[in-house]
């Protein structure tokens, strides 16, 4: 039998409570047992009894305004609201009586007396709780009539590109306001006016787009009527089936229901039971999925001999055969190691596994790398050295048990919004906050949130700051001696302790270096060490530095020294950027490691893969991305298979990257769009989006979740099928028919994944690795009884100044970051309505620095470094301290990376994006690079257009 009506998730009315105590009460003659603190409404719902409700929804605390959910309770006067009444032992509740029926009908009469009667043509028809309640209470007429004052002519607010606010339909249930407060934490909405005049107000009665609204959609989701409605629903109507999948944007990895009509997505709604996001999402995941059907998507394979030639559209067979033959030719002429591959952190685990397998087994080289190189590779190195595993230690849920949160080098409000909302919820409950960042990020001061300490560290001096924090902990007797002696290596601790205790590491001595006042450092250190459960959350402001790995080790040192590892509420939490960057690292995308973070030189591990794959593998590490460019320029690296990565836009020193690519003979790009790198490519293989494939993503919590195909790939093949075809064309057979087989192979060969199967993921919703015999259902918290390496290891973190220092010629320090509405190189988000929030990258500059240079808001500013020059428009703000400028990298024409240099982390070559010495001058025209880029891009677009004309005339 066909399901034609979408099943809505069960809404229990009020949030679940966790308690060791239970209470048993009687509802409508039924005995119901629930945790103490549960509302009567929820207790009834769990027993299958739906008490009518409008202002209650189980993602929000009870409000008690609509008065529909009244019940009768023996021994209590009147008609208590079941949503605000906690269940108590021995209670006897009746949910339906004739008096309750009259009361409820009366409430609905009042609502409907000021509500349009256009149900049949309303966008919420079929998914409207007001409609449902009118039906449930048996409303037949409205005795007040419809001639009185009403709001039916209130104007719609269509300013937001994704949803409409229609006040005429609003019943002022306050769900949207509460969602913006409790779920999102932005507090953009309120009710203005009183009584009849009460209206939902965004900002100060402003259109949504002009208010503080960040378009997360929580209000739209909470709204029971058509008042806040997705424009896609208005256009397309209700969906007919939905498929659970995982978001393809950031490392939170929100679970989503893709609501479909046939093969078209109607809307994406967050999955209530998603363990990473718990029913919440951000503007990108919820609304910015339109890029999958954008007209700029390239859907047919193309080849060309030289990058100055027009593209030739060809069949899949021909493109694959050409790529394979070119790779083999290059190897024959230049040696086995003259080609390599880059895996994608956007693609699934199965797909990245196959790319690294293709490079190792089919190409026969270890020249494979992934974008983690340029973001969290120091996390991999640093945490492996200290704790024994290259991953974060907690779940996101763990933050709800944190007493002191440290946010270092991260801006979760922009880059991990759903996690930021959870953190803010915890902070509003009383947890303390230490922010370590040169910029005044949103978390420092926002509604109901104020950081206890904002350590405005000078870019490039993180390690010095951490050493001084450690100095305080060690010299003031704040070390958790019991934890350290029980769980850590004594000698390494002793050496470390002696090192940090040195006077040159004191906050007073380091103040000159870091720019942070000593008393602030002392205060923050004491708070971290003694404030209770303390957790460190960090991002690329820690890793993208010349001492990135050192700083990560410094973080682990602090956590171990204070015993903040191995339970809920604490830990070391790298906020991984991309949807599957954790996964691509897990899958052995690094040139020196096989899946599971085991070095390629280990003969036992290598032997296991050789036996399974039927090839001999090279024992020496391969080239990292940065080394590939150098090798290309020296003529020893000539071919590259690049899946889902735009190195020309995202890697530093753009001119260097472009020269390197121009020196190569066969660049194969597999992507959705003709991105910056594809302009230098010889073979273009159209890729598939996350909606067009099956597989798994692994988020920052090590959580492996399913990605499910909701539509057939518009380009004809899922990304993994393309890699299989290429491998077969190269002569290395791959016979997979479904991604689950690839996961089975991964599980066979990787001890931390040994227990992972699609069946288990389906059953549990998601699984956090390690998942094996010791932990058959996965591992939420790591290093509980002992560290993965046995005993924790302390490492000495001596401050070494970066080569990028401010000088007379380049007196300012440029740092980079992300914003909420755009994602990384913007390939996806620039092709959605998100450009309404951010249509160009701007240069944030402090008022003093601006005044010194005669720069005012909106001026064109030339930003020059030793690597190059670009021009950006100025935004004068005191969010950055004097001496520091900031920009984002979402638009290729901004050329932010023309300016960044080859300075990189000593251990991993992770580029030092966060510290570039620059000068800023007021200019009147674009930079030379921008002019050249414009010309080059126009030529490449022309070559693409010429291809299209060919296929039309054929």
């Amino acid at each position: 039998m066909l399901e034609t009506v979408i099943k809505r998730d069960r809404d229990y009315g009020t949030p679940a409570r966790v308690s060791e105590q239970t209470v048993t009460l009687t509802i409508d003659g039924q005995a119901v047992t629930v945790p103490a603190g549960t509302s009567v409404m929820r207790a009834a719902a769990e027993a299958g009894i739906s008490i009518p409700k409008l202002c209650a929804t189980d993602s929000l605390e009870a409000f008690g305004s609509c008065r529909l959910c009244l019940v009768e309770i023996d021994g209590r006067r009147g008609y208590p609201a079941s949503c605000t009444t906690p269940a108590e032992a021995g209670m006897v509740v009746r949910t339906e009586t004739s008096k309750l029926r009259d009361l409820r009908r009366g409430v609905m009469e009042l609502y409907i007396s000021d509500h349009p009667l256009d149900c049949l043509t309303c966008a919420a028809n079929g998914d409207c709780e007001l409609q449902d309640m009118a039906g449930v209470v048996g409303l037949r007429d409205v005795r007040y009539g419809y001639q009185g004052a009403n709001h039916l002519d209130d104007a719609k607010d269509e300013s937001n590109p994704y949803f409409t606010y229609d006040p005429a339909k609003c019943i002022v249930c306050n769900r949207c306001v509460r969602a913006c407060e409790e779920t999102q934490g932005t507090f953009a909405l309120t009710i203005s006016g009183r009584g009849f005049g009460s209206r939902v107000s965004a900002g100060q009665d402003q259109p949504f787009m002009e208010s503080e609204c960040v378009s997360c959609g929580a209000c739209v989701q909470a709204c029971p009527t058509a008042t806040l409605q997705e424009k896609s629903i208005i256009e397309m109507g209700q969906s007919e089936h939905s498929v659970l999948t995982t978001c393809a944007y950031c490392g939170v990895g929100c679970g989503f229901k893709a609501e479909m009509k046939g093969q078209e997505v109607v809307r994406m709604t967050p999955w209530k039971d998603g363990q990473a996001n718990r029913g919440h999402s951000c503007v990108k995941g919820r609304f910015a999925w339109g890029y999958t059907t954008h007209k700029e998507r390239v859907l047919k394979p193309m080849i060309r001999k030289r990058i100055s030639d027009p593209w030739q559209e060809v069949s899949w067979d021909e493109a694959i055969r050409y790529a394979a033959s070119e790779f083999r030719r290059i190897q024959a002429e230049n040696g086995r190691d003259s080609i390599g591959g880059i895996t994608s952190s956007r693609c699934t685990n199965e797909e990245t596994y196959l790319v690294q397998k293709l490079v190792r087994a089919a190409f026969g080289t270890n020249n494979v790398d992934t974008c983690a190189r340029v973001c969290h590779s120091p996390t991999g190195y640093g945490l492996k050295q200290t704790l024994g595993e290259s991953a974060g230690t907690q779940t996101f849920d763990s933050v709800m048990h944190t007493d002191v949160a440290v946010v270092m080098g991260a801006n979760p409000s922009s880059a991990h919004p759903v996690f930021a909302s959870r953190l803010k919820r915890r902070l509003r409950e009383g947890a303390r906050l230490i922010v370590i960042d040169p910029r005044r990020i949103e978390l420092v001061s926002s509604p109901h949130i104020k950081a206890d300490y904002h350590l405005q560290v000078r870019p490039g001096t993180n390690t010095a700051l951490l050493s001084s924090l450690a100095h305080v902990i060690v010299t003031e007797g704040l070390v958790n001696e019991a934890f350290v002696s029980g769980r850590c290596e004594a000698k390494s601790f002793q050496d470390w302790r002696d090192f940090v205790a040195r006077p040159e590491n004191s906050p007073e001595a380091m103040e000159e270096v870091t720019g942070v006042p000593a008393d602030q450092v002392r205060g923050a250190a004491r708070l971290y060490a003694t404030g209770g459960n303390a957790a460190i959350y960090y991002g690329l402001g820690v890793t993208e530095h010349s001492q990135g790995s050192t700083t990560v080790m410094g973080i682990a040192n602090l956590a171990m020294a204070t015993g903040n590892i191995g339970r809920e509420g604490v830990g070391v939490n790298p906020l991984r950027g991309q949807n599957n960057v954790q996964g691509s690292c897990d899958m052995g995308s690094f040139p020196h490691e096989l899946p599971g973070y085991r070095h390629i030189s280990d003969p036992v591990v290598r032997g296991a893969f050789e036996a399974d794959w039927g090839v001999t593998l090279q024992p020496e590490p391969g080239l990292r991305i940065t080394n590939m460019f150098d090798a290309a320029l020296s003529g020893t690296f000539k071919g590259l298979y690049l899946q889902g990565e735009d190195i020309v836009q995202s890697d530093p020193n753009t001119q260097h990257v472009a020269s390197a690519l121009s020196a190569m003979e066969c660049i194969v790009v597999q992507d959705l769009f003709l991105n910056e790198t594809a302009k230098y490519a010889h073979v273009f293989l159209p890729g598939s989006s996350f909606l067009e494939k099956d597989g798994t993503f692994t988020n920052a919590e090590r959580r492996i979740s399913r990605v499910r195909k909701v539509m057939e790939p518009r380009n004809g093949l899922s990304d993994w099928e393309v890699t299989v075809a290429l491998s077969n064309a190269l002569g290395y057979p791959m016979n997979y028919t479904h991604p689950s087989q690839i996961m089975d192979e991964i599980a066979r060969l990787t001890p931390t994944f040994a227990g992972v199967t699609y069946e288990k993921i389906d059953r549990l919703g998601s699984v956090q690795w390690p998942c094996n015999d010791e932990a058959p259902e996965g591992t939420p918290i790591m290093h509980v009884d002992e560290f993965v390496r046995g005993k924790g290891r302390f490492l000495i973190t001596k401050y070494v100044p970066s080569d990028e220092r401010s000088t007379r010629k380049y007196p300012l320090l440029l740092t980079t970051g992300r914003i909420l509405s755009q994602y990384n190189v913007g390939a996806q988000t620039r092709r959605t309505a998100n450009v309404m929030w951010h249509s160009e990258d701007l240069l944030e500059i402090h008022p003093q620095d601006a005044e010194d240079r005669g720069i005012v808001e909106g001026d064109w500013v030339g930003v020059q470094s030793r690597a190059g020059e670009t021009v950006l428009r100025a935004m004068v703000t005191d969010r950055v301290p004097p001496g520091v400028v900031y920009t984002t990298f979402h638009f290729p024409e901004s050329g932010a990376n023309v300016v960044t240099t080859d300075s990189s982390d000593w251990a991993t070559n992770c580029p030092e994006y966060k510290v570039t010495a620059v000068q800023a001058v007021r200019v009147t025209q674009p930079s030379e690079w921008q002019k050249r880029w414009s010309r080059f891009s126009e030529i490449q677009r022309q070559l693409l257009r010429e291809r299209m004309r060919e296929s039309e005339t054929m």
């Binding site: 020196h592 070095h599 080394n627 000495i796 070494v800």
Partner: protein, 82 residues
């Protein structure tokens, strides 16, 4: 591959391990790091440079003392397999 760049990268590796109190361990760790993470081409170039220029001086940059010690004491294991 540009030797100046390789020397700079190598020196920075040395900077980290230089802070370790146990000198012998630190020298061994420098060598291990290069062996584990540097592709054969890069190691060959470094070894060839040192063979030409035993004092580690490349003009604009020079190899730091800990690097000289580490590479000289571990030439065999730093030499790529094939």
């Amino acid at each position: 591959m540009e030797i100046d760049n390789l020397i700079r990268m190598a020196n920075r590796i040395g900077d980290f391990f230089d802070a370790m109190p146990d000198r012998e361990q630190a020298v061994a760790d420098v060598a291990s790091h290069i062996q584990k993470f540097w592709e054969p081409r890069m190691r060959n170039e470094l070894l060839a440079f040192l063979a030409r220029q035993p004092d580690g001086d490349a003009g604009k940059v020079r190899l730091s003392p800990i690097l000289l010690e580490a590479v000289n004491a571990n030439k065999e294991r730093l030499t790529p397999a094939s």
